[in-house]
Symmetry: C2
Subunit: 166 residues, 2 copies
């Protein structure tokens, strides 16, 4: 009943993840989304309700597609070097941006970000057998390194002091 969609919703959401992961929420206009996602304004609003609605869907997809696999990979980590390497090589642009610039003014975003961090902490804590506090510190350190663009040798210098952890 009715006409079929001419766009792939999954592709659209993935493209939105890329856009929102590259610049601030207010820096991405609906025009940008329409242009880069290849979806008409009307369809966008029909499907996602609003710009914020699309953002939330994109954020959740980012967590499902990028953060959860990272957590699963972390579960097999044996040392902090592996942890930092895995986090550093993961695509976490949207999560980082959401944490810094959206969480403070959108509590739904804040909740998603918080549980995402918690899942990373848990994975690290389980994998390395360390306290929750140290796991949170490792997540924080890895995010900080990512934020700074992974300066040469910084990760190695840190893990050299940290391993072995037991």
């Amino acid at each position: 009943m009715g006409r079929r969609r001419a766009f792939d919703e999954d592709e659209v959401v993935r493209a939105a993840v890329e856009l929102f992961g590259g610049r601030a929420y207010d820096g991405v206009s609906v025009d940008d989304l329409v242009t880069h996602l290849g979806v008409h304004r009307n369809s966008l609003y029909k499907t996602f309700g609003s710009k914020r609605g699309l953002y939330l869907v994109a954020l959740r997809r980012h967590l499902a597609d990028d953060v959860r696999p990272l957590a699963e990979a972390l579960a097999a980590a044996k040392d902090s070097a592996t942890v930092l390497r895995l986090v550093a090589s993961a695509d976490l642009g949207l999560l980082l941006l959401a944490a810094v610039e959206r969480a403070s003014s959108d509590e739904e975003v804040a909740a998603e970000v918080s549980t995402a961090f918690a899942s990373l902490d848990q994975a690290i804590s389980d994998a390395l057998g360390v306290s929750a506090a140290l796991a949170a510190a490792l997540t924080a350190a890895a995010l900080g390194l990512r934020l700074r663009g992974n300066p040469d040798g910084a990760g190695a210098a840190l893990t050299q002091r940290l391993d072995p952890l037991n």
Copy 2:
């Protein structure tokens, strides 16, 4: 020659640091600035040229007022615990936000952020006598902790593994 200003430029810039340090650049409108800074639009543009001009002045003031004192305090640090405590207690909202959401699209901002990080690295490296790489890692870790809102015990858990550094 001419009428005197009715506003204190320093106060205005400090207030701008607070505003820009609290939410994203595009989230702060000129109307917001006019309202919270107590300066008329006209004077704002006469004095700073543009919104971006005011932002750059605010960023540089933030670096001079908040980041440089932090670097000086770090110079007296004897262990990584002190480093993390100092960085965690410093007001670095604007620097963090600038690094995450402005540096990628404004190379002048990127340059300021880069030298600011470098000065912190240098201070830590000098104070603790560690390599530049490890100093960068410590700065990154401290920023990551700040980003996560300093989870209970995370800083302590990290420094417990790091100190002594020599």
